[in-house]
Point group: C2
Chain length 224, copies 2
DNA sequence: CATAGGACCTAATATCATTAGGTCTCCCGT
DNA sequence: ACGGGAGACCTAATGATATTAGGTCCTATG
């Protein structure tokens, strides 16, 4: 009993030490000695808990992403409309990243470089995390909120790409500002592409209206 | 003379060996012995050319990105319209990536994890590469091709994010398909968000039109 | 033809990751 | 109460690999 929780405790001490050091100095520059010192034990003891440094690198994000995945269902539960869900998804994820910047840093900066990444549990969980988005876009398309010709995969690529880009920059800049700065505006801009109205609706209105919009003085031919 | 070019030659042999091995096995798993063997010399000789393994990691993408930067001006020269330039930018970049997958792999997968990345020449060149986009969006906005309220930075985030996401997936999947698959559709979808017409134009038309579009059966309230 | 410099080599050295082979403590059955 | 055994931890190898020291050899030049 006491043993069990003692052992659990040590394990967690190792994890949080490793997390801190990996995020601070990078995976390569962090030595196993560093980690064990920080956790208050010897190198050898660490090997009782983990197979090695790489195992540690893979375990940390695994825990985090599993937890995210568990939370996601609940977070989206009861939210109405595809755009509502999409917005909640983004805000939720950004907040989780802000709350666990060390985990996020490891996932975004160190994990992808690992040759085994594609075979890890983490990867498969990240895919699940993203596949929720496909459902949301599908829902939006069939409900008519989003364009009828929307391809959920392409929409997901844009959404995830933008999100990851914002997060990666934030991590590289040492988390020196809030992830939510401008998020509203970027969300609005991006989701505009998904909305049902543009050409379809314009076609339904009179075509002659095209070109008279106050902001549209430019040469449209260039688009062709 | 012969010396000079001999030396140049050796340097390039080292670079291309390192590139190949880094991309194949990853940075960590590649040893200096591997690289020098592949290049046909001893480890020690390699240190005549590079300060070490990390220097090599940073040199390789530096060369590539500098070259890209030099090329970009020329590629965009003479292209009319912001959307025209945007499209050319994307197609050009994707092709360069497809042509130099090893360089791309190193930039996208291994570079960001390096603690010094932010202080490297590569980083500053990548920024320059991306800052072209700001100009393009600015041009689009003022010319009226793009929405009047378009924030060039946000548009860039979406554009770069999407592009990088597509490339990263392609690299992780071992470049097993063409980067140009679906590129047209994704480009169309994404740039739709930037186009000048939506709300501005709809507002100019009659507001009562909203909701009667054939594809809009869904509940719009959820958007609020 | 002697020699200086450059390109390269072999053989250290230093820094880790990982493992071998203990010690110490606490708990359990007798 | 006590012997032993299991678990948690330790010190001290071992092995791999980045980096450096200190040459050798070849070539070009006076």
């Amino acid at each position: 009993m006491a043993n069990r929780s003692q052992k659990e405790n040590t394990r967690e001490r190792i994890i949080s030490s490793a997390k801190k050091l990996f995020a601070e100095q990078g995976y390569q520059k962090t030595t196993v000695v560093d980690i064990s010192k920080q956790a208050g034990l010897s190198e050898a003891a660490l090997y009782e808990y983990f197979q090695g440094k790489e195992d540690l690198l893979l375990t940390i994000p695994d825990l985090w992403v599993s937890e995210l995945l568990k939370d996601l269902d609940e977070q989206l539960f009861g939210i109405k409309g595809a755009f509502g869900k999409l917005r909640k998804y983004l805000w939720w994820y950004m907040r989780r990243v802000e709350q666990s910047p060390l985990d996020a840093k490891i996932v975004y900066l160190f994990l992808k470089t690992n040759a085994n990444f594609l075979n890890t549990q983490v990867y498969s969980n990240v895919r699940k995390l993203y596949s929720y988005l496909l459902d949301i876009f599908e829902e939006g398309r069939t409900s008519g909120e989003m364009r009828g010709d929307l391809n959920p995969r392409f929409a997901r690529d844009i959404f995830v790409g933008t999100m990851d880009h914002i997060i990666t920059r934030w991590l590289l800049k040492d988390m020196s500002y809030s992830l939510f700065e401008n998020l509203e505006d970027i969300f609005e801009l991006m989701t505009d592409a998904f909305k049902a109205h543009n050409s379809e609706m314009l076609n339904n209105l009179h075509n002659e209206a095209v070109g008279v919009g106050s902001e549209n003085g430019g040469d449209r031919e260039a688009l062709a």
